[in-house]
């Protein structure tokens, strides 16, 4: 990878240890993805906020880094482990709360916007088409590339952080308009968001950097986010195109058989103790949807609903949250279904969710069994 004189001197440590570390990361990933050069970005979105996921090593690293590091571009942040407003209601240990507070403060010290959301594309104004950004958080990267007309690598937590600190990113193939060699045809009749999530999970497994999805006539926001979340969980694919794909591309069908295989892989229980919605977090449109689906009905079990703080505030003003709380929902901000310590395997054996991403991490990281159902099925089965 070609570096400018200034970039070379930063890599040699002439601009301090933080810049040296940041450029070391950028050069490693630039080599890994065959980038020719670094290009400027306008927005970075960081993952690695939840103490559950980054642990003591991550907390100490960020604490040390924040002594002198400052972000150079607009930088937003993924969810953390809990919502400070309601943390006292949950049985979390003091150490967790303190370490989470330290992580939060480290990011704020570096100048990061404390958005604590995995759907930055829904809560911030989008820059103009084609803008180079650097999004960690796999669903956000895929959404940015495929739907929001932005350009990003499917960044890692460290590569997005290095981009935030330098304002630069490797110019990789995902940033250049390519044409995928694989087309997957959606062949499920009337697919709901769960089917789209499974399609994403399947596509992530079989696709390389990018993939074309055909056979999709329309997809609402819930389905689209579910597709992005599923795809980000299973593979390295960072972009999808909707359409027929190029003529000589390999073609694979996503039929009932493939869907059943994914379902059997991720569904580990036929019932659940609680319901969790929001991985990725719910946006205002989905909260509105949920509130109208819940008219006159109430959950018979605990239902945790995860949304960004700004969405919760808007939903409160409009009155959607009244409807949700009346129906028995606990509304949480700043955290999400995926990897939250609030879903504790010491208290809960199994969770009902419509999130493919949530299902994978609840099972594999939190050790909690999962019953996968579409949102409409959850409302039908779990409310009266």
């Amino acid at each position: 990878m070609e570096l400018t004189k200034e970039e070379e001197s930063a890599l040699k440590g002439e601009h301090g240890e933080t810049m040296e570390t940041a450029y070391r990361i950028l050069v490693a990933i630039g080599e890994a993805i065959n980038a020719e050069k670094l290009v400027p970005i306008k927005w970075a979105h960081l993952s690695g906020v939840n103490y559950n996921t980054i642990g003591d090593a991550g907390e100490e690293f960020l604490s040390k880094l924040s002594q002198d590091a400052k972000v150079k571009v607009m930088t937003t942040l993924n969810p953390m482990g809990f919502d400070f407003d309601s943390v006292s209601k949950y049985n979390l240990d003091k150490n967790f709360i303190e370490k989470q507070q330290s992580i939060k403060e480290s990011y704020e010290k570096m100048g990061v916007i404390p958005s604590f959301s995995c759907i930055p594309y829904e809560i911030f104004d989008l820059p103009e088409k084609g803008t180079q950004v650097s999004f960690a958080e796999s669903n956000a990267a895929i959404y940015a590339n495929s739907i929001a007309h932005l350009k990003t690598n499917k960044e890692s937590a460290f590569s997005a952080l290095a981009s935030a600190l330098t304002g630069k990113t490797p110019y990789s193939d995902l940033r250049i308009n390519d044409s995928p060699n694989l087309t997957i045809k959606m062949k499920i009749d009337e697919p709901n968001e769960l089917a789209f999530g499974m399609l994403g999970y399947f596509a992530g497994k079989v696709a390389d950097n990018s993939v074309t999805i055909s056979g999709v006539s329309e997809m609402n926001k819930r389905s689209c986010k579910s597709l992005c979340g599923g795809m980000g969980t299973s593979g390295r694919c960072g972009k999808f195109f909707l359409g027929d794909g190029k003529e000589n591309a390999e073609r694979i069908d996503f039929d009932k058989k493939e869907m059943q295989n994914i379902y059997d892989e991720l569904n580990t229980s036929d019932h659940g103790d609680i319901i969790t919605l929001g991985s990725p977090q719910l946006g205002l449109e989905e909260i509105a949807d949920l509130s109208s689906m819940l008219k006159g009905r109430s959950f018979e079990k605990r239902c945790m609903v995860f949304c960004p703080r700004v969405v919760q505030e808007q939903a409160r003003k409009i009155g959607y949250t009244n409807e949700l709380e009346r129906a028995g929902c606990e509304i949480l901000s700043d955290c999400c279904t995926c990897l939250t310590p609030l879903v504790d395997k010491n208290e809960i054996d199994s969770v009902i969710t419509n999130s493919i991403k949530g299902a994978y991490y609840l099972k594999n990281s939190n050790g909690v069994d999962v019953n996968l159902k579409s949102l409409s099925q959850i409302i039908q089965d779990e409310t009266k």
Partner: protein
């Protein structure tokens, strides 16, 4: 066999190989290095002190922190060899100083073989009987 060096370094040890990609956040215990994804063929094994050979990393971007945590808790592989690069593994290894290369002939790397990986040597990987 040719290699591309992503993170420089030297390591000697036994190859632990899988043909299944690894989701570091979802599948690896960051303190012990034990794979706990029951769907993975390395389930129950620790990647600690191995020369870990796997196709590529998948899943959450936070997997890079898992690699850094493994190094901090002295449970990291000695080196990683992949068939394809992904940003989580590359950046995690870069920050944790774990040597990492991409191998063109991934299939020729055998599980259990003792090797020395040295990015300064001409041959890069030396197989030992």
């Amino acid at each position: 066999m040719t290699f591309k060096v992503i993170v420089k370094g030297k390591a000697s040890g036994k190859i632990m190989k899988t043909d299944i990609p690894i989701n570091f956040l979802g599948a690896v215990d960051k303190k012990t290095g034990i794979i706990h994804d029951t769907k993975h063929d390395l389930v129950g094994k620790s990647i600690k002190d191995s020369i870990l050979v796997f196709p590529y990393g998948v899943g959450s971007s936070v997997g890079a922190y898992t690699i850094y945590s493994l190094k901090s808790s002295k449970s990291a592989p000695l080196a990683m060899i992949c068939a394809k690069a992904d940003l989580s593994v590359a950046s995690g290894c870069a920050l944790a100083n774990i040597p990492m290369v991409i191998a063109t002939e991934f299939d020729k790397l055998e599980d259990g073989k003792e090797i020395t990986l040295d990015t300064e040597s001409d041959k890069l990987i030396i197989f030992r009987e």
